[in-house]
């Protein structure tokens, strides 16, 4: 049975924890709004880009002159997994759900006899993956100094990917990130970026003239497409992180409230018990006289 003083201290400490989680929730809510706006603002570019590229890819894709970024290297022996996680913790299952998906993929690839390389973005995922797959990690992108994710960050990652691809370090690149659905639901997603895969590769409805040539444009666009996809993934991930943190902190705040209620009841009960005991002692003492 904890003493009254212990209980009092306990209540005070849970109360201050609740204050912190509440503040974190509010900060996350504000950041979430900004992250969502950024993701929203980036959408027109990504959509146009994909529309134009899938139109082009459909018309050029099957010819022999298709660029390697589209057609692939002709093999799928070496896989590069780009695992995007957050730089900070306290955001619920956000990081572990991405890592779980990536881990399942690594296991599947390894058992199929493929070579796996892992590039991590964000230190939380790196910490988790290092335990089992340290020998597959080939690089890490640190975004902890970045306050607001810009296109430059995505561009740098994409350039790194393209350099490695040109050097023949891998055949297939897949990015893992959390797609933002709502504050309470973020969907871990894997997206193949190299070779570029387009859903519903139908030809563009309008017949365009191309300057310089279809292949020329495609060769120019594909690297940009990779950067755009990385950028979209980073933004979605950013929004998801804040969403996950917001709901995690909301839960924490509520739990802290419940705990305070329970402790307060316990505190009051033991206080009353102490008073009753004292009274009984006094009465018993008076009667004995």
């Amino acid at each position: 049975m904890p003493s009254l003083k212990d209980l009092k201290n306990r209540i005070a400490s849970v109360k201050s924890t609740r204050k912190i989680t509440k503040a974190m929730q509010m900060v996350a809510a504000a950041k979430l709004r900004r992250a969502q706006e950024a993701a929203e603002a980036a959408r027109p570019y990504a959509e146009r880009m994909t529309a134009v590229m899938s139109g082009l890819a459909a018309s050029v894709g099957n010819s022999d002159s298709a660029p390697r970024l589209l057609a692939g290297t002709g093999s799928d022996q070496t896989h590069l997994l780009v695992v995007m996680t957050s730089e900070r913790g306290l955001c619920g299952a956000f990081n572990s759900s991405i890592v779980r998906l990536a881990r399942a993929r690594v296991a599947a690839l390894l058992s199929a006899g493929k070579t796996v390389k892992i590039l991590t973005v964000g230190k939380k995922g790196r910490e988790q993956l290092k335990r089992d797959y340290a020998k597959y990690l080939i690089g890490h992108v640190d975004l902890s100094e970045v306050k607001r994710i810009g296109y430059d960050n995505a561009h740098a990652i994409a350039r790194d990917l393209l350099t490695r691809f040109d050097a023949g370090e891998f055949d297939v690149a897949t990015i893992f990130y959390n797609r933002f659905q709502s504050v309470i639901s973020q969907v871990p997603t894997e997206l193949q970026v190299i070779p570029a895969a387009f859903e519903g590769g139908e030809s563009a409805s309008t017949l365009y003239d191309y300057e310089p040539s279809e292949e020329g444009i495609l060769a120019d666009l594909l690297p940009r497409g990779v950067a755009t996809q990385v950028f979209t993934a980073l933004l979605e991930n950013g929004a998801s992180e804040q969403g996950a943190r917001m709901s995690a902190m909301d839960n924490a705040t509520r739990n802290a409230g419940d705990m305070i209620d329970r402790l307060t009841i316990q505190y009051n009960r033991s206080r009353q018990a102490a008073i009753t005991t004292e009274l009984v002692e006094i009465i018993a003492g008076a009667e004995a006289l």
């Binding site: 950024a38 980036a42 880009m49 296109y151 309008t206 003239d209 120019d220 666009l221």
Partner: protein, 137 residues
Amino acid sequence: MADTMQFDLVSPERKLVSAQAREVHIPGADGDLTAMPDHAPLITTLRPGILTVVTAEGATDYAVTGGFAEIGAEGVSVLAERAHVTHEVTQAMIDEMIAAAQKAHKEAHPDVVDSAAKLLSDLVAMGSRIGLEPKLS
């Protein structure tokens, strides 16, 4: 014939301009071109240069550094990696871009050294057109 068309200038981070335009001068990779309403559908890549949009209120110049333009039935959309209104472009920005291009040129693979040189000279030309003489080293 409609005398205006929808014009969108989009960068990866946000939509910069969305307006009704009478004509748009585009610095295409193979040469400049002007798009007016009912232009034939065309997709072209951009070289660094000045993009001019003429609306009912007048003309606005934007400095763009590559990307592509899509001219379709419903209008023109330009997807540029970096785009700024010309009077917002500073000497420092030009210098930085040119320094990056020079570095790329020096390190360029022999196969692509020509395109790197072209990129560099396009940037220099763009700088001088806005009246910011680049420092060439």
